[in-house]
């Protein structure tokens, strides 16, 4: 059977930095990425990132994928990257199975780093399966990766950063945004919300989708106000003639491979759903499996990259590939994470991590 030191599942920001760390520690690395492109969700981020310089703030997201690949290229004799490669299973004996372009392969790695990211959530309402009801991330992929205009006029549901940024990018692509609605309040950065409000798009708080109407596809969206128990208040309907509805109502960590491998999972709503129990080294309760990125709880790409750097170092150390500057790097990355999570916007995230780790964050 094929073997390797470390298999990394997912070639997004966390997977790529994990590969850089592990390869620079001397480990042999294989990355499996299910998409035809490497970079995960970075490749469709046309906007500039916030945060600190160490995570490429003020650079556009898709460029960051290139920088990480360039860095990884320094270790190319150590790294194999497979695209169109979906890891199908992790079995009790540590064997993994992969669909590689339609071919079924098996591999027995010494350690596995799972960096599969997250999945878009949907919400239930009448008409929610009509063509034209999209996830906001899917719309962003259509526009920014494939150059396809997804609709002419859109209602955006959700006012977190993804909802706000995708609304702006829809307008850049010539799509009209009828309104942005949110059940509670704006959770994204106010700098994004203000920019959109200045462009004349109403942002309505305390609303939900009542019904989507259409024969073959979305023709009309009806929204209504909700009370504190999330019940629709009669007589508050607003109708929009739109041909698409974009859902940006949160992400859930993609933990299915961890579930297969008997890693202990816990439901923590602040982190997006079921997340793995892990320690400071990003090792799960299955000692051969490490995690990094959104799978550990929904955060930004910047934290995903730092988590990847940590998991790459710790997984490599576990098989006696110890980076020359291991101690300094680990403590620097841990400080970076504390910094990224210290802002006023990260309160909920900090609560979630507290629940997951107890005092040992």
């Amino acid at each position: 059977m094929k073997t390797t030191d470390i298999v990394i599942v997912g070639g997004g920001p966390a997977g790529l930095t994990a590969a850089i760390s592990a390869a620079s520690s001397g480990a042999e690395v294989t990355i499996f990425e299910r998409s035809p492109q490497i970079g995960g969700q970075l490749i469709k981020q046309t906007h500039m990132f916030f945060g600190s310089e160490k995570q490429y703030a003020s650079h556009r997201g898709f460029r960051i994928a290139d920088y990480l690949l360039d860095e990884l290229n320094k270790y190319k004799d150590k790294v194999k990257i497979y695209k169109n490669a979906t890891v199908l299973g992790i079995y009790e004996d540590g064997v993994i199975t992969v669909d590689l372009d339609g071919e079924y392969i098996k591999m027995l790695p010494k350690r596995i780093i799972v960096a599969t990211g997250a999945n878009e959530k949907i919400i239930p309402f009448p008409g929610n399966d009509l063509p034209g009801v999209y996830g906001a991330g899917a719309v962003q992929t259509l526009m920014n990766v494939y150059g396809v205009k997804p609709a002419d006029k859109v209602l955006m549901v959700g006012a977190g950063n993804i909802g706000l940024i995708v609304s702006y990018q829809l307008m850049q692509a010539g799509v009209e945004v009828a309104a942005i609605i949110t059940d509670l309040f704006i959770t994204g950065y106010h700098v994004h919300a203000s920019k959109i409000a200045r462009m004349g798009v109403p942002i309505l708080s305390g609303y939900t989708v009542k019904e989507i109407v259409g024969e073959e596809q979305v023709e009309k969206a009806i929204i209504a106000k909700i009370d504190k128990q999330w019940n629709i208040i009669e007589g508050t309907d607003i109708e929009y003639d739109v041909d698409a509805v974009c859902l940006s109502v949160g992400l859930s960590p993609l933990v299915e491979l961890l579930g297969q491998a008997n890693c202990e999972l816990r439901f923590i709503s602040e982190l997006g759903g079921y997340v793995p129990i892990r320690n400071l080294d990003y090792r799960t309760t299955n000692e051969n499996i490490f995690v990094a990125g959104d799978i550990t709880g929904i955060e930004e790409a910047s934290s995903a990259m730092v988590e990847g750097y940590i998991a790459g170092l710790t997984a490599a150390k576990d098989i006696a590939c110890i980076h020359d500057d291991y101690e300094n790097k680990i403590s620097d990355y841990r400080n970076q994470l504390d910094g990224l999570r210290s802002g006023p916007h990260s309160g909920r995230l900090r609560q979630g991590i507290e629940k997951l780790m107890g005092g040992n964050k």
Partner: protein, 98 residues
């Protein structure tokens, strides 16, 4: 729109076209574990493998039974995480023995 029409027009599982009404009827009958619902309605057995419907069903069970979500056991995770042709698996097995 009355409650029944609302539940019939709301889809919980897009892979197998399962409505909110079918899910709620089953929970009312006493099938209050996601794996039981999965075996009867096929939710979580399509291409999405429960990635979309899983969280929605957890929420419905929680609301209707008064349990918190962390008290409910989610769908069992099993390989393969997506569809693969039987022929590919057979061929993979042959290569493996060499």
């Amino acid at each position: 729109m009355d409650q029944k029409t609302l539940e019939e027009k709301t889809i919980i599982c897009r892979c197998s076209d399962v409505t909110l009404k079918e899910v709620r009827d089953l929970i009312r009958e006493g099938y209050t574990e996601p794996d039981e619902i999965k075996r009867i309605l096929r939710t979580g057995m399509g291409p999405c493998q429960g990635r979309t419907c899983g969280p929605l069903i957890l929420r419905e069970v929680a609301i209707m039974t008064g349990r918190t979500i962390d008290e409910i056991v989610p769908f069992t995770y099993r390989p393969p995480s997506k569809g693969i042709k039987m022929g590919a698996i057979a061929k993979g097995g042959e290569l493996n023995d060499k």
